[in-house]
């Protein structure tokens, strides 16, 4: 029987080929493959997978529709709870969410829910099927700060509940990290834009080039007549190592490297005007998904030797296993238990070498991972032309600095009630990385969904008390 069969693999570009282009690596299921994979789903009456999904997608429901070849309806079913299925089908860590809860996973492999989600969403998009009609008005007006995963989710959900959502985005393109952070070969930008078009189709107004905190403050938005404000400004401030030589030319934050590559399309310089420099030997510092994305971009931009330099061991890598494997297949070399101590430059101020130290792993720390400490006398030099620092981000401080009465932690994250996502200011809500610190697309969307529900209640209550 089908459920006993192994997961249907998804075709990929071969490593040799893909490491020199920016085309999507994972190619998606064919119809035949999708049907075979869908047939493995047991359609549980009490589905555990749904509980594993931060936005609660009706997984057996949409897979049931795939089984019946009703693909457009399957995509619509997902969109009832998740406005960005083609994005989530590609970048969600399903292995630690819905798929981890799949009953089939107990004895064998879980259903490849993400791949089926992607199939349904891609089918709907390429079929040109019309999206849902604009919802009717009558509700409140809500300003949404940031057009990343949390902001888009809040806006779409509020719109579905009959409110008007106006999204304010600082950059020249909507999508937040989906546009500036995640590379084209993992998440094509035209797919992101297509899903944003769907959200706009719900009636959401999108204002680009609008940095809240500068052009308009949160207080001004409230005074301008918005009933509520949602802050989803992300975790945009890059961390640096704070070691000597870090401001040499050739040392990038991962944010800068990825913004130049993805948002500004520096891989098409000089046709696209934003330059980027990638030397022969590239060291990426860090072990998360952002580090993997940076390393894989560096390969595609001509790096001959690309190293991931990570202070802990392979077992502690915070990146998705799949992403680390993709990077390894493409030729990225991993230097575990290694940490940079300083960067050394030439007389023109370009980085040429990096001094590293080996690390030993001790007792588990607060994060549950074994804590690294330097081994004395183990220092060594590595020749590098380009360094990409991918050790994390904290929230962008502009809004916190310009909003009186908004409570934040000493790490700069905004303090919220975990259930309602309400901040210390009445009518102001927040969610996503600006609250949690850097996390995943889907957890930001989950926060957006929760915030939309409480904003809806807030506006309804206000309306009642006003009459």
């Amino acid at each position: 029987m089908a459920s006993g069969a192994p997961q249907v693999d998804m075709p990929k570009q071969a490593p040799e080929e893909r490491k020199s282009n920016f085309d999507e690596v994972a190619l998606g299921y064919s119809e035949e493959q999708a049907l075979a994979e869908a047939s493995r789903c047991l359609g549980c009456k009490n589905p555990r997978c749904v509980k594993g999904c931060p936005v609660g997608v009706d997984i057996p429901g949409f897979i049931g529709l795939v089984k019946e070849r009703r693909y457009v309806e399957a995509a619509r079913r997902i969109k009832e709870t998740n406005s960005l299925p083609a994005v989530c089908g590609r970048v969600c860590p399903q292995e630690s969410q819905c798929q981890m809860s799949c009953v089939l996973g107990v004895k064998g492999q879980p259903v490849a829910i993400g791949r089926l989600e992607r199939y349904a969403a891609d089918y709907e998009r390429s079929s040109g099927a019309q999206g849902p009609a604009r919802t009717t008005r009558g509700g409140g007006r809500v300003a949404v700060v940031g057009s990343g995963p949390s902001g888009l989710t809040v806006a779409a959900e509020l719109q579905k509940k009959g409110h008007q959502a106006d999204v304010y985005e600082s950059l020249h393109a909507a999508g937040g990290v989906l546009m500036y952070g995640i590379p084209e070969f993992r998440l094509p930008k035209d797919i992101v834009q297509a899903e944003i078009e769907y959200v706009k189709g719900l009636g959401v107004n999108l204002h680009l080039d609008s940095t809240v905190g500068r052009l308009l403050t949160v207080g001004e938005l409230l005074r301008a007549g918005y009933d509520a404000v949602f802050i989803g400004s992300g975790a945009g401030l890059p961390h640096f190592l704070r070691v000597p030589g870090e401001n040499l030319k050739g040392v990038y934050s991962a944010n800068e490297f990825l913004i130049r590559t993805n948002l500004m399309k520096a891989y098409r310089f000089p046709e696209y005007r934003t330059p980027i420099t990638v030397g022969r030997s590239v060291a990426v510092i860090g072990g998360g998904n952002v580090a993997m994305d940076s390393a894989r971009c560096a390969l595609r931009l001509g790096g001959e030797k690309v190293y991931i330099v990570y202070r802990r061991g392979k077992g502690e890598l915070p990146a998705r296993l799949e992403e680390a494997e993709n990077a390894e297949e493409e030729g990225v070399e991993f230097m575990y238990q290694t940490n940079p101590v300083r960067f050394i430059g030439d007389d023109r101020g370009y980085v040429t070498r990096m001094e590293c130290v080996r690390m030993e792993l001790g007792e588990p720390d607060a994060s549950g991972r074994r804590s690294p400490s330097p081994i004395k006398g183990s220092e060594f030099l590595l020749d590098v032309d380009t360094v990409i620092v991918a050790i994390g981000q904290s929230p962008n401080p502009i809004i916190q600095q310009t909003t009186d009465g908004l409570e934040a932690t000493r790490w700069g994250t905004i303090v919220v009630d975990e259930e309602t996502m309400a901040t210390s200011i009445s009518g102001v809500y927040a969610g996503g990385d600006v609250v949690s610190g850097a996390a995943t697309v889907i957890s930001a969307m989950g926060a957006g969904k929760a915030a939309a529900a409480s904003i809806h209640n807030y506006i309804e209550k206000r309306g009642q008390s006003a009459t």
């Binding site: 600082s170 940095t211 870090e246 030319k249 800068e256 000089p270």
Partner: protein, 272 residues
């Protein structure tokens, strides 16, 4: 799209634009900048705001055509649209009562200097304004500066240090300046800051390192100030002139010079 409502050529390679951007014009203040992207392929170019006319919904900027991106922008004419015009970004310079102040700017920053000088005078400061350029015909807004400031000087100085240094030193020695503000090429700002520091006068330098987003996300614009790394876009662009590592700033400003040269040549030949 943001329409160019007025365009003027200023020698040798400077363009003045008035751009229709109502929301920006209502919020802009001296010291802040906009990020401009000419078209779909364009770079995000930071340009310091040189004036805001909320009654006309416009913002005034001056920029020098120094690379392919600024040439692309300079080719736009009156009535044309700029794809993105985002701002105001960065912190405004605190405009308050300092007393006696000196505002020194070079090259394309003459307009920015006058914008600040007027605002400072509006707050009751006694403002001396020095505008410097490499040639007589590169000086602009000379009459406007004379009108707007208590004292104004226009200096031709082609090594960004000679005649200007002498004048600034003399002004600092003659008057009890409360603060010096400066905009322009790094060597000039550095010279002005050093002259002020030597006399115990606080100086504000205004730094424009390489930037991408202009909102604190990329860290390209990091500068070392007082031994700590700061981002010019969100911590500045105004910094204490006595604390800036100008050598590092100068080096980082040359980061993409090789790439810019290639792009410039291809742009001139019409290849890109």
């Amino acid at each position: 799209m943001y329409q160019v409502t007025e365009k003027r050529d200023v020698p040798p390679n400077i363009k003045m634009f008035k751009v229709r951007a109502p929301a920006v014009s209502r919020k802009a203040a001296p010291g802040q900048f906009v990020i401009v992207r000419t078209d779909e392929r364009g770079e995000r170019i930071p340009i310091t705001i040189a004036g805001a006319e909320p009654e006309e919904d416009t913002v005034t900027v001056y920029f020098a055509e120094v690379g392919a991106s600024t040439r692309d922008l300079g080719r736009l004419g009156e009535g044309d649209g700029i794809l993105n015009f985002s701002g105001p970004l960065g912190n405004a310079i605190p405009v308050k009562g300092y007393g006696e102040v000196l505002c020194v700017a070079g090259g394309v920053f003459q307009g920015v200097n006058l914008y600040l000088a007027k605002a400072l005078r509006g707050e009751g400061n006694r403002v001396t304004c020095v505008q410097v350029a490499k040639g007589m015909d590169h000086l602009f807004l000379v009459d406007e500066a004379r009108e707007a400031c208590d004292e104004s000087y226009a200096v031709v100085d082609d090594d960004e240090g000679g005649g200007l240094k002498g004048l600034v030193a003399r002004l600092l020695d003659e008057k009890k300046m409360s603060r010096v503000f400066t905009f322009g090429p790094v060597p000039m700002q550095r010279a002005v800051a050093e002259l002020a520091s030597a006399r115990g006068v606080p100086s504000s330098v205004n730094l424009y390192p390489v930037m991408v987003d202009g909102t604190g996300m990329c860290g390209a614009c990091r500068v070392t100030v007082g031994g700590a790394t700061r981002f010019a876009c969100i911590d500045g662009p105004e910094f204490d002139g006595a604390s800036v590592d100008f050598d590092e700033l100068t080096s980082r400003l040359r980061y993409y010079t090789p790439q810019e040269k290639i792009a410039m040549v291809l742009n001139e030949r019409g290849v890109i």
